[in-house]
Subunit: 193 residues, 2 copies
């Protein structure tokens, strides 16, 4: 687990053994079972998560109780309710495990400490947040402008293993299409026999 | 214009006169007329923009030629096609002025230089990108889950002066609703006489 985090960080910045030890000291590791929550709507958000293994869904539940999938996170992704984390406020979103999941947890004090003490870590998060902004801009375009077929194809490119890992109902919710539309898209996707 | 940029930066970090001079040397200022483009789809993106005065729309044009508004930027906002900027690649989005607009332009080399030379500027962009990520997460929730009325009310809270500055057609495109739906929402919004 430590090695995976280090390799992930070192794809962007270089760290000495001592610096990585300082980084690691800010994190705690946690194992979470399928179905359990890392963030529950209404509870104070204290941590940001790095996914070592597993799959999570970040969900907004509307006034009628319907769940909308804001994003899906798997290995090597960072996930959290960012607004609530940075403000140390109650969550407006929920983060639930779709598989047994292992994460590294970073409290805000640890994030702030690393950004101040290690310029490489400020750099790492800068690059990560910029890329996160790009992914979010692309998801906005996808929701506003792309027909269901293109949204589905883009999802397969972004997460190739996803259809084997989650239900069609969940995929449909992520895409903002009906279960029936998704089945039609998935059937068309199969190569001819 | 210089003072506005400095005050904007100093809401998050402190800069000496010398440091601000170094910051300013990376930027160029530009005046752009209503209707003109700062970014055109397909052209290489070389700059990120800080809006001193005016109003811009960041647009995705779909295969059928329909324009979808990814975001609106006004005074004190940063805007750009972030994916294309960081990759120095051709734009997939367009950025067009809805009013005569004044911007500070930051080329990628200047951005990288400031992040490396001034820890405060790395810090500034880290905070800005994190907030941008929050705004994008909220817009995704809005598009996925909120009824048209709530999207409209959220827009008015975020940009109170917007209905006086742009057409109803543009507001409707931003909200992803029809022109008729928007008129109905706007009529309901008026206080009783």
């Amino acid at each position: 687990m430590q090695q995976q985090l280090r390799e992930h960080l070192e794809r962007i910045v270089s760290l000495t053994d001592e610096e990585f030890a300082l980084v690691l000291a800010q994190f705690t590791s946690r194992q979470v079972r399928k179905g359990q929550f890392l963030i529950r709507k209404g509870e104070r958000v204290r941590e940001l998560y790095f996914v070592v293994q597993g799959l999570l869904k970040l969900v907004h539940t509307d006034a009628a109780g319907k769940a909308h999938i804001v994003s899906l996170a798997m290995e090597d992704w960072w996930e959290g309710d960012f607004a609530a984390y940075l403000a140390q406020a109650p969550a407006t979103l929920s983060l639930q495990c779709l598989e047994d999941t292992a994460v590294w947890c970073l409290p805000l004090a640890g994030y702030e400490y690393l950004c101040q003490q290690l310029p490489q870590m400020a750099r790492f998060f800068l690059v990560k947040f910029a890329r996160g902004g790009i992914a979010a801009q692309q998801r906005i375009v996808s929701l506003l402008a792309l027909p269901a077929r293109e949204r589905y194809e883009r999802l397969l490119r972004q997460y190739p293993t996803l259809p084997q890992r989650v239900s069609k109902t969940l995929l449909a919710a992520y895409l903002g299409v009906s279960r029936e539309t998704l089945s039609r898209l998935a059937d068309q996707e199969r190569p001819p026999k």
